[in-house]
């Protein structure tokens, strides 16, 4: 028997009666929605986690629960404990008598779940490895490293934080804000925000009655206020306001004006949803979480699945589902864009998207892609004087690169944000591994970039329809200054079908186009 002054850890093997009893004692009573904890524990027993051992860490001081405790639970008549139980999961059998040296198992560490000692919805701060089985088709982009300490030994888990609303200090909106903010703090250097602070920031400008208990949730403007208060620049779109923008989506999701009214409405709904998903996709691809809102619920988009065999006209057609952290159902849940089962939550239910970006980024992703798409399409469609209507693209297809002719007829654009340091490291690797022409790579490497750049890859179905992700390639790319005003020439590099142009952001000078034969296609960027 240990004295209470000692930290208490207990090792249990998954599936044993002792484990089940101990787990039940830690988690029960579980009032409210048990779905997230049930789904998560079930997932942890299965592939790819295959959890074998759980280490129960008792009397754990969780700073997020401490925030909820000091703001709300400590004031209640009922004596709520100030501490939590933290469950550490490993996919290896650790001897039950282990009392130290957990670091030996660091490679088999799957992450943790904090269980709050509250009445309702006790699944607190949770960080687990992403459950990726097929790396060619599953991409969870929003991952950050979280250090974990067991008796002074450091382990780490790379994941997306999850929390279930406790419904007293936060509802789904606050839970989504917390997940997004905690991730941004680890990945992009923002500070941590605690649950009570988030609730306070959300309600600082728009008083709508008592702030606590917070079961009434937040309205759309309060979510924007909270993001503003946390210093996270946000941009939003609603599904019924996008009809005039994202026109490139309309060719793939057309509305037939002559169709019967019901069918036309259905087509318009699909088109709007595709436009909203297209906007969100650029940010998710950039490892920036997106808050999705239905008519009454909010959750966070963090990744996507990918279908390489689709013949697509626009990138979003390759995305069958987004991965979301949904406080109602659990972490890393797949949500289909265009589902067959209407009763399940899908992107068809989404009404709003709120995207965030690092402070240094002022140009929005959709605007960056407009810059890239317009300069590439205009370039290929430019008529060559004195050549009876012949275009640059036409000449590329007939004379310079007949092998690319079929790619040029249907272009797909994929835009994402990258730190310039990461981009330069990528270039070095690509040059070293001969995935990119060394002359082009060297020119790109030596340019002076802002901290973040938008990169638009130009590709086509022929180059992307490859089951193995490493075989997917692109026909070119455009690099955009992420701090450029939207209506200026923000392009820094245009490299398409062997043609290269560099543009000086300081002087506004566009250097002469250069032709570098056989420098395209090159490797499509893998972001996870």
């Amino acid at each position: 028997m240990l004295w209470p002054m000692y930290k208490r850890f207990v090792v249990e093997h998954v599936g044993t009666p002792q484990f089940k009893r101990r787990l039940a004692r830690a988690v029960r009573p579980y009032t409210g929605n048990p779905l997230p904890i049930r789904a998560t524990l079930k997932a942890l027993r299965q592939r790819p986690y295959s959890s074998r051992t759980v280490v129960f860490e008792y009397d754990y001081v969780d700073k997020d629960y401490q925030s909820e405790f000091s703001t709300f639970y400590s004031l209640a008549f009922k004596k709520y404990p100030p501490r939590c139980v933290r469950l550490h999961f490993f996919n290896v059998e650790i001897p039950k008598n282990t009392t130290s040296d957990f670091r030996r198992y660091s490679k088999r560490y799957l992450g943790f779940i904090v269980i709050r000692p509250t009445d309702l919805q006790r699944m607190g701060r949770t960080v687990l490895r992403p459950p990726v089985i097929d790396r060619n088709k599953q991409f969870i982009h929003c991952l950050a490293e979280f250090p974990v300490h067991i008796l002074g030994e450091k382990l780490a888990v790379r994941g997306m934080p999850f929390v279930q609303q406790d419904s007293q200090v936060g509802a789904c909106a606050q839970a989504s804000l917390w997940m997004l903010a905690r991730y941004m703090s680890r990945r992009f250097g923002f500070r941590d925000f605690l649950p009570a602070e988030i609730n306070q920031l959300a309600k600082a400008h728009m008083a709508l009655g008592r702030p606590l208990p917070a079961e009434r949730g937040l309205n759309f403007i309060q979510i924007l206020d909270a993001l503003e208060g946390m210093g996270l620049p946000s941009v939003y779109y609603a599904w019924n306001s996008v009809d005039d923008c994202s026109r490139h989506i309309e060719q793939a999701f057309p509305v037939n004006p002559n169709a019967p009214e019901e069918q036309r409405e259905q087509q318009l709904k699909l088109q709007r949803i595709a436009k909203l998903a297209d906007i969100a996709y650029r940010y998710i691809e950039s490892s920036l979480p997106v808050i999705f809102g239905t008519a009454d619920h909010a959750f966070v988009g963090i990744g996507h699945t990918y279908e390489p065999s689709t013949t697509a006209q626009v990138a979003i057609q390759r995305i069958p589902a987004f991965f979301i952290n949904n406080d109602n159902t659990g972490p890393y849940v797949e949500m289909r864009l265009f589902p067959q089962q209407p009763e399940l939550l899908s992107f068809l239910d989404v009404r709003t998207v709120i995207v965030v970006s690092p402070r240094e980024v002022t140009l929005r992703g959709e605007e960056a892609e407009a810059m890239a798409r317009r300069c590439v399409v205009r370039f290929l469609n430019t008529e060559i004087p004195g050549q009876s209507g012949q275009t640059v693209g036409g000449l590329v297809a007939t004379e310079f690169r007949p092998d690319l002719a079929s790619c040029l007829s249907s272009l797909e654009f994929r835009t994402f944000l990258r730190s310039s340091v990461e981009f330069q490291a990528d270039l070095r690797q690509d040059i070293k591994k001969e995935r990119l022409n060394a002359t082009i790579g060297d020119k790109l490497l030596r340019l002076d970039y802002p901290k973040y750049i938008w990169i638009t890859e130009v590709s086509s179905s022929i180059l992307l329809n490859k089951p193995k992700r490493k075989e997917r390639r692109c026909l070119g790319r455009v690099i955009i200054d992420s701090t450029a005003p939207a209506k200026t020439r923000g392009q820094m590099v245009i490299h398409i079908a062997d043609f290269l142009q560099l543009l000086d952001r300081q002087t506004g000078k566009a250097h002469d186009w250069e032709h570098h034969p056989h420098t395209t296609p090159f490797a499509h960027k893998l972001l996870t």
């Binding site: 509802a171 789904c172 909106a173 989504s176 079961e215 009434r216 949730g217 937040l218 309205n219 759309f220 403007i221 979510i223 941009v235 939003y236 779109y237 609603a238 019924n240 306001s241 996008v242 005039d244 923008c245 026109r247 809102g293 008519a295 009454d296 619920h297 909010a298 009404r351 709003t352 929005r364 959709e366 605007e367 407009a370 810059m371 317009r374 300069c375 205009r378 370039f379 430019t382 060559i384 004087p385 004195g386 640059v392 000449l395 004379e399 310079f400 939207a486 209506k487 200026t488 020439r489 062997d498 043609f499 566009a510 002469d512 186009w513 032709h515 570098h516 034969p517 056989h518």
Partner: protein, 63 residues
């Protein structure tokens, strides 16, 4: 004495020279004017969508 064929420039150099010739003929000022105008129109449409969005969803409550 064996006759040697005249040396041909490499195929890539020929295509590059031809590409450079083509590029010189194009009016790039026009090109950039058109690109900038296209982008500005698209940016305006996104701006309008954002302005309309707030009005249409401000009442939604997420819980």
């Amino acid at each position: 004495m064996k006759a040697t064929a005249p040396k041909q420039p490499p195929r890539e150099a020929v295509s590059s020279a031809k590409a450079q010739q083509m590029l010189k003929k194009i009016n790039w000022t026009n090109y950039w004017r058109n690109v900038t105008k296209d982008v500005a129109d698209e940016v305006d449409r996104y701006e309008a969508a954002r302005a309309k969005s707030l009005r249409s969803v401000a009442h939604l409550v997420f819980r």
